[in-house]
């Protein structure tokens, strides 16, 4: 069984490395400042005793006030997992850094989030709609879509 690591403990470890990078943390997850996202992700992937070499899934949630993007990370080496979240407060043109350079599996999932939620990912190699067609108006999984 994969061990779900405590967000609290990892956040304590990360806080020393990246002061101001962690917004909040709990037993289940930790929330990263979006400006630190790529650095934190690189750290989580490359640090030997963390070694999160597999990205299970990316999800996005619309909380009206902000968008939250959820990264579920797994280590094949140590058989443990972690949930990392980041928030995006802009609504007109929300942008987050892309993690495709770290995990190739993020490619389609970031495209899906761009398609349905309208969040742009900086550094994505091919950011275009995945399920809907070019020219579709709006992003249908947003709460205010009608």
């Amino acid at each position: 069984m994969t061990v779900a690591l405590s967000g609290q403990e990892i956040a304590d470890k990360l806080d020393k490395q990246f002061p101001g990078g962690i917004v909040e943390s709990s037993q289940d997850s930790l929330v990263v400042n979006s400006e630190f996202l790529l650095m934190v992700a690189t750290f989580l992937k490359d640090t030997p005793d963390l070694d999160f070499n597999y990205l299970t899934a990316i999800t996005a949630v619309d909380y009206y006030d902000y968008f939250e993007v959820v990264y579920r990370l797994t280590s094949m080496e140590h058989n443990h997992s972690l949930v990392v979240k980041t928030r995006c407060y802009e609504r007109a043109n929300p942008t987050l850094p892309s993690v495709v350079s770290l995990w190739r599996g993020a490619d389609f999932q970031e495209r899906e989030i761009y398609d349905l939620m309208g969040i742009s990912f900086d550094g994505h190699p091919n950011l275009k709609r995945l399920f809907l067609w070019q020219g579709f108006k709006g992003h249908p999984l947003r709460r205010d879509y009608w």
Binding site: F131, L132, W133, F136, P140, Y145
Partner: protein
């Protein structure tokens, strides 16, 4: 022992030979002239018309007895269609067991499932690649009207927006019996066609 003695109700062998020769001679006597062509009295135009009716009958019989469906199963109704094709319900009883992977060899499209706008051009293309004559059965609520996804941003509200539909089979999904009934209705429709009036409005 007398061989030719009649025994009981049966005639003797000699008697059989004699009646046989009588029958043959009588037939030969009245068969000296060839039988005239029964429609010899018809003029050329009338003959062709009568022939046309027969062609209709045989074409319609052949068409309705070998409806080959094309693979167009975008969603979950496909499982009911597969069940219909499998041994318990067995559409090969109606001459339909060959479900073609190529639309060029098919003349029936059973639209089993929800159609999204993104998939719609491909479905239209499959339909266009099918040779005439061709028919479409809209299977299930989604194929008829979009079903529960009708108001969705990505779903086509009914296949009749994309291709002309001949038979609608309601259900979500329809039972195989319902699909079989729809197929029989389509066969009934096919049997009423005529090559003289063929070619439909698009």
């Amino acid at each position: 022992m007398e061989v030719d003695e009649p025994t009981g109700i049966y005639p003797s062998a000699t008697e059989l030979d004699r009646t046989e020769s009588e029958v043959i001679e009588a037939l030969k006597k009245r068969s000296q002239q060839p039988i005239p062509d029964p429609d010899e009295w018809l003029d050329e135009e009338l003959k062709r018309n009568i022939l046309l009716t027969s062609v209709d009958a045989i074409l319609n019989w052949a068409r309705r007895s070998s409806l080959w469906p094309v693979v167009c199963f975008p969603a979950c109704c496909a499982f009911e269609l597969i069940t219909t094709a499998a041994s318990r319900f067995d559409i090969s009883r109606f001459g339909m067991e060959i479900i073609r992977a190529s639309p060029r060899q098919a003349d029936l499209m059973i639209t089993a499932g929800t159609l999204t706008w993104k998939m719609a051009p491909q479905v239209r293309r499959i339909y266009d690649q099918m040779p005439e004559p061709k028919w479409v059965i809209a299977m299930g609520a989604c194929a008829i009207s979009g079903g529960i996804f009708r108001s969705s941003y990505s779903v086509v509200p009914g296949y009749n927006r994309i291709v002309p539909v001949d038979v609608y089979v309601p259900g979500c999904p329809p039972r195989p019996e319902a699909l079989l009934y729809g197929i029989k209705m389509l066969q009934h429709k096919v049997s009423k066609g005529s090559i003289a009036t063929e070619g439909r409005e698009e």
